[in-house]
Symmetry: C2
């Protein structure tokens, strides 16, 4: 059964794109069929893997713009690209996605476009991972509404703890309109074990939100930046690095939780 | 003569707020009179120093909302708060600033509100530092239009290099409407000297944009997160750390450039 994982946090630079790509690679390595959808108009995930928006014939922008739900499966097929070595497919983004707030304003049901797309994907993929932009808007709402699980990457510091209330508020509001409440897990990212602040915030998280925090922790690792410079994921560039191992650990944790 | 420094980059988590606060502290330590204005609706700079938006009687939101330019000096006076130990004043933010795009939409001259405020600040401060949100919008435009210098903090990796074109495009567009082109400098932040990617990107920057890149480089330093957990700047919490020294170096570079 298809699992849609939304990687979301309205704070910038917390490791959403890194998580979407590395987790995608780790799940692919385990043999699962994975699609990574780049919902960020800045297209960082797409560009990371060499899918330059201006070179794509079709992007997610066309998918969202299409009014006729019956035509979207064909658009999806056109825009999905397979990657050469990474073990997942990609649905690339484009800066025009930032115009959706305006373009879709008077239409109905615009929060459920991605949810409706699940039907066309559920026999082709085991996991669809949504890389979200650091904004609260129509793209994030689509991701939260379509998701089985929302992964919230969070830097373990005091301000990050404060900042995560915003996505909690967004989920709380959406829950009023959804058949069941949004399931989420916090993922500690860029964890610096030498920093007392990191250790304290992690301890606080485990106390206050124990069953909502992943066991897996993503450590600071210079290899992530090396990987983005080479257009590959860390699992390909540095398979035995601490960063790569942490995302494999996360992939196992996620698959194990589903079978639980 | 008043120097307005806008700290801007539409990418999230690159060190804008850290730069605004640490540079503000460093310039204050040198004896200059400094005001840090928090233009980010997420209010990270304000919260970092303990100015919780919901506790403020007046915030920058009221300043922007005021139609009568003659009334803004009084609002400014009301909202500026001095900090106990940090050597600068603060103009706090509020989440309602995110509503300005809507609230100000039909008004004229909304890009020059901060520029017009300079007159009221130029005899009280030597430096006004603007902490910008990671969005291209009316707040960023106000900052760019009001600034003498735009400081662009940038993580030295391949994607950051690609991402910085967006703020270049924004400045290029604004330059067509301004009396003189916007002056800017790139500041390498979160520099990890063990990462080959960082070294390569820095070398590339120095080749391609030599006179537009600061000599000062801000290294990765765990002390920054410690400081945010304690509600103080790194200069107060870890004055001899590499991070603190780097921002002092930047403050000297900025003051030296002006006198040049
Ligand atoms: N564990 C880590 N250790 C070191 N660097 C990391 C780690 N995770 C991510 N990074 C780096 O931090 C930067 C920001 O990460 P990333 O782009 O994944 O964040 P993001 O939340 O997607 O940002 P945005 O909000 O702009 O979409 C990138 O340069 C990335 O390579
Ligand atoms: N040189 C550094 N070394 C280590 N950590 C740093 C450094 N600079 C900033 N940080 C940390 O990185 C995180 C992001 O920094 P900061 O909030 O300044 O970025 P920002 O660009 O203002 O983000 P936003 O786009 O959300 O406003 C914070 O936790 C901060 O403490
Ligand atoms: Mg991202
Ligand atoms: Mg900030």
């Amino acid at each position: 059964t298809l699992q849609v994982l939304a990687v979301a946090n309205q704070k910038g630079g917390v490791g959403k794109t890194t998580t979407a790509l590395s987790l995608g690679a780790a799940l692919g390595e385990m043999g699962h069929r994975v699609l990574v959808m780049d919902l960020d108009p800045h297209a960082c995930a797409s560009i990371h893997l060499g899918f330059y928006p201006e070179e794509q014939r079709t992007t997610l922008y066309e998918l969202f713009l299409e009014e006729d739900a019956g035509k979207r499966p064909a658009i999806l097929d056109n825009l999905i690209a397979s990657t050469t070595n990474a073990k997942f497919d990609v649905a690339p983004s484009h800066i025009r996605l930032s115009e959706l707030e305006m373009d879709l304003r008077d239409r109905a049901g615009i929060g459920a476009i991605l949810k409706q797309c699940r039907r066309h994907l559920h026999d082709r993929y085991d996991y669809v991972i949504l890389d979200c932009p650091p904004h609260v808007g129509i793209l994030l709402v689509n991701a939260l509404v379509a998701a089985n699980l929302v992964i919230i990457p969070m830097q373990t510091d005091f301000l990050a703890l404060h900042g995560v209330r915003l996505i909690f508020a967004t989920m709380k509001t959406l829950n009023k309109a959804l058949p069941q409440p949004i399931d989420f897990r916090i993922l500690a990212t860029m964890f610096d074990r030498r920093a007392g602040a990191c250790q304290r915030v992690l301890r606080l998280l485990r106390q206050k939100a124990a069953n909502k925090v992943f066991e897996s922790i993503i450590p600071m690792d210079t290899k992530f930046r090396e990987a983005s410079g080479m257009g590959k994921t860390i699992l390909e560039v540095a398979p035995s690095s601490r960063g790569a191992q942490a995302y494999r650990h996360l992939a196992k944790e996620i698959t194990a939780n589903e079978n639980a």
